[in-house]
Symmetry: C2
Subunit: 361 residues, 2 copies
C-alpha cells in the first residue's frame, strides 16, 4: 500500500525494515534444503525459493481500504480481481507463473451473501488467469474489524504461489536492463488497490460523506463505481510473452509508490534511468480526481498508477512480437511508453509536457 | 477458529462451504501443470500440490482474538509462536515439513516497538522450527482494524509452505488408521489460538473489564499471562518421527472444534472411533476457567485443546520408538492417550471418569 496523506512514510519504512531484518535471520534455516531462499535476486517483488529443482515464487498482500468502496456500493463480486492482481502480478513481475492462491478473510460478523459474492469473484478471476484457489480461512473477529456502513465489514488478503517457467533460466529482476531498451506499458482503467486514502480524502472534501453516490463529471458514472473499477490482471500476458520466447529484461507491477517507486526498483539494479514520453493517459476519473484535489503531478504519480498497470522492459527487437502477443490476449491494451536511458532519473511526460521527474535510488 | 458463544456455527459452516465450493471450481486450472491440486487426500488440514515431482503443502490461518491478550498485557514477543503453530502444525498434521512462511500484519496505526517485538518472536519461533520467513506485508488500515486499549491494534495471519519428506510416499491423512492403533498426545500448556471468546466471556464476568490483571488462583499468575501462554509448535517432532522411519497413520492438530472435531476429521476417513482414557490433563488455568464458567465438558472439549496440542495415531509397534524421539526433542511431553476403536464415537475420560462422547461424522 502507498502511504496515504497524513501517514508517516518514514515510520512505515522503519517498520518494514525491522520486519525484513528479523525475517532475514531465518533465511539460513533452509540452506541446502527444500525451500532454500534465493538471495541473489535483485529488485524482487516476490520471494524466490528452490524446491526439488524448481524455482518457486511466493508473495502475500491484501487489497487494503479498497474494501470500503465495496461496502459503499454494495458490489462485492469484483474485489477478487483486485486481490488476485495484487499477488499474481507481483509474481509475474519476476517472471513467475502464478499457480495457486490461498486467502484469508477477516470479518466482524458474517453475511453469507457477501461472502458468496466475494468468493465467486475470486474464483472467476483465478480461472481466467489459470490460477487455482487452494485454501482459505474466514475469521470472525468481532470489533477487531471495522468499516463503513451497517453491513459485514472485512479485510481481505492472499498469498500466491507460482513457478518459474522452464523457458526462463532465472527470475526476471532488472539485471538485464540496458540503455535503449523499450518500455511497454499495459493499460489500467482503475486504481488497482492503491491510493484509496488520497482518493477518499479528495472525494469526501468535494462531495461530502456520501461521495460514492456523487457523479463523476467526466464519465457520468458514480464515484463509487469509478473507484471500484476492477484491476487488470496481467500475469497471463507475461506468461504468454515468455511462452513466445520473449525474455523481458525487467517488469514493474505499478502499485504503491507508483511508476517512480516500482520502475525505480527494477532500474536501480543496473543504475539506469527511463524516459517515458508516451505512457497511457490516466483514466478520465483519475484526471478529474487530480483536478478536484489540485494534486501535484509528483504526488499523483506516486499514489496512483495513472493508467499503467505494468511496465515491461524489452530488448528493442522483442517489441513488435510482444505487442502482437498482447493484441491476441484478452483485452490487453499495450503500447511503447518510453525507453531505458543512462542516468538515475525517471522522467515522465504527458501530452508532450514534462509531468514528473524522480530519482532512482 | 472455533465459533465463540453467541456466534452462529451453522452460518460459519455455510460461509466456509460457499468459499470451498467456489475454490473447487478452480482446481481444474492446474491439471497436468505445476501446482496441480491433490484431490485424493482425505481429512486434509492443508492443501497438497504437485510441483516438479515434489508434493507441496500450503495453508493459511491467523491467531484471531488472542491478539487482544497481547494488547492487554503489553507482551508481544510470543505471538509469533502462536502464528507459526497455527499454520506449521496444520502442515505437520499431513506429514508435511514446513519450510517457509509469509505473514500479513494489518494494523490501524503503526507502533515501531510493537512491530519489532512481533517480528522478533516470529523470527525466533521460525528458527527453532527450521522454517524461513520469506515474505511479509504490513498494511495500515486505520479504523478498519480495532482492538483493546490505546496502543497499536492489529490482526495477524500467515501462510506456510512445506514439502512432503522423501521418507513418506504420500501425505498422512488418516487412511492408514486401524482399530488397535495407539493415540499419542503431545502436551500443550496454553490455549494455542482457539477458544478465546469463551475464555474472555468467562473472565470478564468473573473479574470485570480488566480481567487480565486478576490472579489465577491455581497458578498465582495473572489471567493475562495465563491466556498468553505461547503455543507448543509440534512440527519438528513430526518431522523427527518420520526421519526415524515412523509413518504416523493419522495426525490431529487440536485447534478450533477441539479433539472431537480434529481427531474426528482423521478418524472419519476409515469410519473409526477412539477411546482416550489418558489424555493430558488440562492446564491448571483451564481447569479453573471450566470451574469459573461452569462450562459443561462437551463445551470445554470443543472450544479448547484441554492440554493436548496434537494427537498422533501410530501402529502399536511404533509407540515406544516415538516416545523416545519425543523425549529427545526440545521439551516435548508425550504419552499414550488412548487408542483407535471400532465404531463412530470418540470417547474421552479423565481421571477414570467419562468426560465427553462425540460422534465422528
Amino acid at each position: 500500500m502507498s502511504a496515504p496523506p497524513g501517514q508517516d512514510i518514514d515510520l512505515k519504512v522503519r517498520c518494514s525494515s525491522a520486519a525484513f531484518r528479523w525475517a532475514r535471520k531465518t533465511f539460513d534455516a533452509r540452506d541446502g534444503k527444500p525451500g532454500e531462499v534465493d538471495r541473489g535476486l535483485n529488485a524482487s517483488f516476490a520471494s524466490i525459493l528452490s524446491v526439488g529443482g524448481k524455482r518457486l515464487g511466493v508473495t502475500s498482500d491484501g487489497i487494503g481500504t479498497k474494501v470500503e468502496v465495496a461496502e459503499r456500493t454494495g458490489v462485492y463480486s469484483t474485489l477478487g480481481y483486485d486481490l488476485l492482481a495484487m499477488v499474481a502480478d507481483d509474481l509475474a513481475a519476476n517472471g513467475i507463473e502464478p499457480t495457486n492462491l490461498t486467502n484469508i478473510l477477516d470479518v466482524d460478523k458474517l453475511d453469507e451473501r457477501v461472502v458468496d459474492e466475494l468468493m465467486r469473484g475470486l474464483s472467476q478471476a483465478a480461472l481466467e488467469s489459470g490460477v487455482s484457489v487452494v485454501g482459505g480461512e474466514i475469521a470472525e473477529l468481532g470489533r477487531r474489524v471495522g468499516g463503513w456502513g451497517g453491513g459485514m465489514h472485512f479485510n481481505w488478503c492472499a498469498t500466491a504461489l507460482g513457478v518459474l517457467p522452464d523457458e526462463l533460466e532465472r527470475p526476471i529482476d532488472g539485471a538485464q536492463c540496458a540503455p535503449g531498451d523499450a518500455i511497454v506499458a499495459i493499460r489500467e482503467h482503475g486504481l488497482r488497490s492503491n491510493g484509496f486514502s488520497l482518493a477518499r480524502s479528495i472525494l469526501s472534501q468535494a462531495h461530502g460523506e456520501r461521495w460514492h453516490e456523487a457523479r463523476c463529471q467526466a464519465t457520468g458514472e458514480s464515484w463509487g463505481a469509478a473507484l471500484l473499477t476492477p484491476s487488470r490482471v496481467c500475469c497471463t500476458l507475461v506468461r504468454a510473452l515468455v511462452g513466445e520466447g520473449v525474455v523481458p529484461h525487467g517488469i514493474a507491477h505499478v502499485t504503491g509508490g507508483g511508476i517512480p517507486d516500482k520502475l525505480g526498483r527494477v532500474l536501480k539494479v543496473k543504475r539506469l534511468g527511463a524516459y517515458l514520453g508516451t505512457p497511457f493517459e490516466p483514466p478520465a476519473f483519475v484526471q478529474e480526481l487530480v483536478g478536484l484535489g489540485q494534486v501535484p503531478a509528483r504526488v499523483a504519480w506516486r499514489h496512483w498508477n495513472m493508467g499503467n498497470a505494468m511496465l515491461v522492459v524489452l530488448a528493442p527487437g522483442d517489441v513488435e512480437r510482444s505487442l502482437a502477443v498482447a493484441a491476441r490476449g484478452r483485452g490487453f491494451e499495450a503500447r511503447v511508453a518510453g525507453q531505458v536511458v543512462e542516468g538515475d532519473k525517471i522522467r515522465i511526460a504527458q501530452a508532450g509536457e514534462a509531468a514528473v521527474e524522480a530519482e532512482v535510488n
